[in-house]
Subunit: 246 residues, 2 copies
């Protein structure tokens, strides 16, 4: 009884919510897309360039391959990501339409599904009945509840597809140019490669640190892991280039 | 009253749920990873090879660059995906620990948050009070409810990180080899390129169709879009390679 009294006092509840700040970290969709783009952009063009340098290509060839790869990669990730986001938006629309129809045609089943969602948390029928009944009187809220709690789908922002694609593509290009710039100024690929290794290693460490900071992981560990992936990828590219050249 | 009676009849509800099959489509995590790997694998190495061929490289150089890129890309996507999944798992553990502490130290605030979640759906305090009280008596269920409905976090499967990484990496390698195989048998890159274009176009159409089928989009549209991305990426690579070569 005392509990029910406390819970129904909206102003008191709101005060508690305002005073208590929950520091649940959210990286942000744009930061996430930048991380996706730069992660591959800093790694693959660098490894490709290093591998070709190791196979005695000229800086001209390394640059040709590198810039071509950056262009192709940016388009593949950008356009691919855009279409994937559009596909998810279409999927959401279809599921929404189906739920809307079911709320009208088979309301008993939908009410049973709400009950099932709540029953999973040990809530008894007499406890969740008022909630189910409340939802049945509000079709829009009922629909939102089913979409989120039964299907786990969030309404996608229509601008996000384009924004995400451009962010990833641009991030990939900027990331990819970092290891390639030395090859634009140093004609001997082997020499350019050393400059590229140093520049890219520093970039990977800085980016890895920032990534860890923004995603709430240990930044130092993240910096080392990111640089390590770059090292492993370029070692593999180096080895494979040597193998192909025999 | 009649509503409450209907809802509390668990057997009747279960019958409704069993009879009514909701055809909500789920692509599956493994299929999703294969799509991610093959999408880039079929596109970027193909575009890189075409771009270099257009810039008059030999099949040997094209193959060196292509195989090196496939190795680097597989590692970047695979290892990168693995670390990202591990990072999400760590994030989940941290949020879980925080919610667990808050349920013990500031239960009134957590109860208020449950109320806030339900209030968003127009549910009145006297309607959701029994649910909030029921959760307060079951700490584990309360914790699960907060993780899912307040934070929107699902408990990650620890094996998924490795499984996902390997799936994406292998899919990328298999996708990347398709456009490169012609260069292994045809020493003149320009000739090999034509074979590569045909082989990859067919592969992109088939893969795009399958992707549409598995994700519930229109398969024919998906096939055309996938092939189109490959065409645009290789056109860009071709153009950039020409530009770099002057």
């Amino acid at each position: 009884m005392a509990d029910e009294q406390r819970i129904s006092l909206e102003p008191e509840k709101q005060t508690l919510l305002n005073h208590h700040k929950e520091k649940h970290f959210t990286a942000g969709e744009i930061v996430r897309d930048i991380i996706i783009g730069v992660s591959d952009g800093l790694t693959v063009p660098f490894a490709l360039a290093a591998g070709l340098s190791g196979a005695n290509a000229t800086s001209s060839i390394v640059l040709t391959a590198g810039i071509a790869e950056v262009a192709a990669g940016a388009i593949s990730m950008g356009l691919g990501g855009y279409l994937a986001a559009k596909s998810e938006a279409d999927h959401y629309k279809r599921e929404l339409k189906r739920e809307q129809e079911e709320i009208i045609t088979v309301p008993e089943t939908e009410a049973a599904e709400v009950a099932e969602v709540l029953a999973q948390y040990g809530i008894e029928p007499h406890e969740y009945a008022p909630v189910v009944n409340a939802l049945r009187k509000r079709p829009q809220a009922w629909l939102d509840f089913m979409m989120k709690f039964e299907l786990g789908l969030e309404k996608p922002d229509p601008r996000r597809a384009l924004q995400s694609a451009l962010t990833i593509a641009i991030a990939y290009v900027l990331g990819g140019l970092v290891p390639l710039v030395p090859y634009m100024f140093i004609p001997r690929a082997r020499e350019a490669m050393f400059a590229s290794v140093i520049v890219t290693l520093v970039a990977l460490l800085i980016f890895g640190y920032a990534k860890g900071y923004f995603t709430g992981s240990k930044p130092l560990m993240s910096a080392i892991q990111t640089a390590l992936i770059g090292a492993i990828a370029s070692a593999a590219a180096f080895a494979m280039a040597k193998v192909v050249q025999n």
